[in-house]
Symmetry: C2
Subunit: 347 residues, 2 copies
């Protein structure tokens, strides 16, 4: 089979790799119908996150089950399924608590020795704990299939940010980060009842999506000026709930600066840098909570799925470029150069 | 009247100062019966927090109302009252949300231009929003009066830490910091239903109090060894709820290191240092929340008061030294040298 591999900075390839096959009784093999490129893949692409030469990449996919191990009970060949960006056994203490990302038997697609999502097929360990079945009819609905793919990461991660930030009906929310996760956080915040959603961003194509997702205000300023602008929009106090979907020290600084006393920053941007950007004095003085981390997307999937199926929740517009597997490098390049927001990979 | 003043590092004095008197219609004047020295006063005492020469000090007191302004409605002369460590108007948006520490009209005892708690009397702005009435009979019960004094700061702050750390019935809790606040957090955690409370500390006199307050385990190790010891006590995973009651980069690092994935650190130690001690990668990977800050003690006072009055909650053992106002410098010295845990000042 063919799959995407990374050989060094900016050296993304599509190569023949061993076919995915069931290796353990709890495995399933999924033939991929849709995959995509994540903003976090770019860290590896740019050489900023270490990878072994030839390592697989991609952690978002949906497709059709083609083989199952003897212990797999919830899916069978022919089923349309979506996978969260980590696998988990579904039965351990952390899985039971809704935190499959801390499962002792869990792991990441594309880690050494595992298949990546950007390939023709994926061996899925712990299929029962990992995969979520989708209605078969969805396979013939192009828009819906793309929307469902977002549940593998960005929509669930945006939802985690909103939940972690404590979004409640009537809340004022601010979103730092106009990538796919930040945009999905706008959708999630509105779904959770936010009255006002301020998107911080200056890329017109992205802020246009943000507005279509329900953002009520857009702040184009950066740094101190952005903090001042959000404060002015919120009666001087800041937002009840702030989503941080970037992960840099500067974005965290901005996020804390625009949070209302007693509010929370829901952070889901993979941290790059130390806590040095955090103004501990400000967090302390204003009782601002910092909550979030790697999103337990598998836990949210059954909660979000009905709304995506009904069309009430449609994250599909975050995909603004579609490539075939052979052109996946074009997808990386476009995202790296910010000419594309998020690249879909079709098979 | 006489009050405690700070003139420079280690230069604490008791001097004649202008009598406290009603200056605004919402003021009351409280004649102090009990005050005490706080661990945070030591930062000023040591010159590590800036103060003006001659500035008042002390933010914990209870006493008898002796004068009220024309707009004060909830207390009257003769009432026994306790004050939280900040005043607040009680009617603004933040006060209504339970966050009087963010009240726009609020302030700290001992800030420039205000009376400190370690003096014969205190002018209390916004008496209705600030003071809490106590049963007059308590004045003749020495132990109870001391326990009630703890509601002005350390008991409420320990409770805030426990609440912020998400202590729930059955939870395993770890407490970093064996000062009065850490010890009160042990009481608070047990009151909230914690099944197991691990106190990190090596001072026998303090860990003895911790055990009497309900700590089930004591870890004497520090740093990495402390993290390993707590992990061993908790099945390798860490504590659901961690109280951080010190405020240094090292203590924060320990607190994050002993938190269970999906858990929270409730931090109430006034931050000294930057966020550089925070391992953002660990917080992110394990979805550990950081919640807390300056405790909204006034909000908790009515919740905790009945249990202190009934004797179910008794923080009085945190006071292990009693001095008169004239000897307040002895109290500071003893706490600075760690020969006393917390000094009571009687009048």
């Amino acid at each position: 089979m063919r799959a995407t591999t990374l050989h060094g900075p900016y050296d993304i390839r599509v190569e023949e790799v061993p076919d995915a096959r069931v290796q353990a009784p709890h495995d399933a093999v999924v033939q991929v119908l849709r995959a995509c490129v994540c903003g976090s893949d770019l860290w590896a692409y740019r050489g900023e996150s270490a990878r072994q030469p030839g390592q697989r990449i991609g952690h978002e996919f949906l497709g059709t089950v083609v083989e199952t191990g003897s212990e797999v009970g919830t899916v069978r060949p022919g089923d349309l399924v979506v996978a969260p960006f980590t696998w988990a056994d579904g039965v351990c203490g952390f899985c039971a608590e809704g935190l499959p990302t801390s499962c002792a038997n869990g792991g990441f697609w594309g880690s050494v020795g595992s298949d990546g999502g950007q390939g023709e097929a994926v061996r899925v360990p712990y299929a029962d704990g990992t995969l979520v079945r989708l209605p078969g009819e969805a396979a013939s609905d192009d828009r819906l299939l793309t929307a469902l793919l977002a549940l593998s990461d960005v929509m669930g991660t945006g939802h985690h940010a909103a939940v972690s930030a404590g979004v409640r009906p009537g809340a004022t929310v601010a979103v730092v980060g106009d990538g796919a996760v930040g945009l999905c956080a706008v959708l999630a915040a509105r779904r959770l009842g936010a009255e006002r959603v301020v998107m911080l961003g200056r890329h017109t194509a992205r802020t246009r999506v943000a507005r279509s997702f329900g953002a009520t205000d857009v702040v184009a300023e950066r740094g101190e000026a952005a903090v001042a602008a959000v404060r002015e929009l919120t009666g001087g106090h800041g937002a009840h709930a702030v989503v941080e979907a970037v992960g840099t020290e500067q974005s965290m600084k901005t996020a804390v600066g625009i949070a209302r006393p007693g509010g929370a920053v829901g952070w889901v941007g993979v941290p790059h840098g130390s806590g040095a950007g955090l103004d501990m004095g400000l967090l302390f003085k204003h009782n601002i909570a910092l909550r979030g981390g790697i999103a337990p997307v598998r836990t949210y999937l059954p909660q979000l799925l009905p709304d995506v199926l009904s069309g009430a929740l449609d994250p599909s517009p975050v995909f603004d470029l579609s490539v075939g597997l052979a052109e996946v490098a074009d997808g990386y390049r476009a995202m790296d150069e910010r000419t594309a927001l998020k690249a879909l990979v079709t098979f």
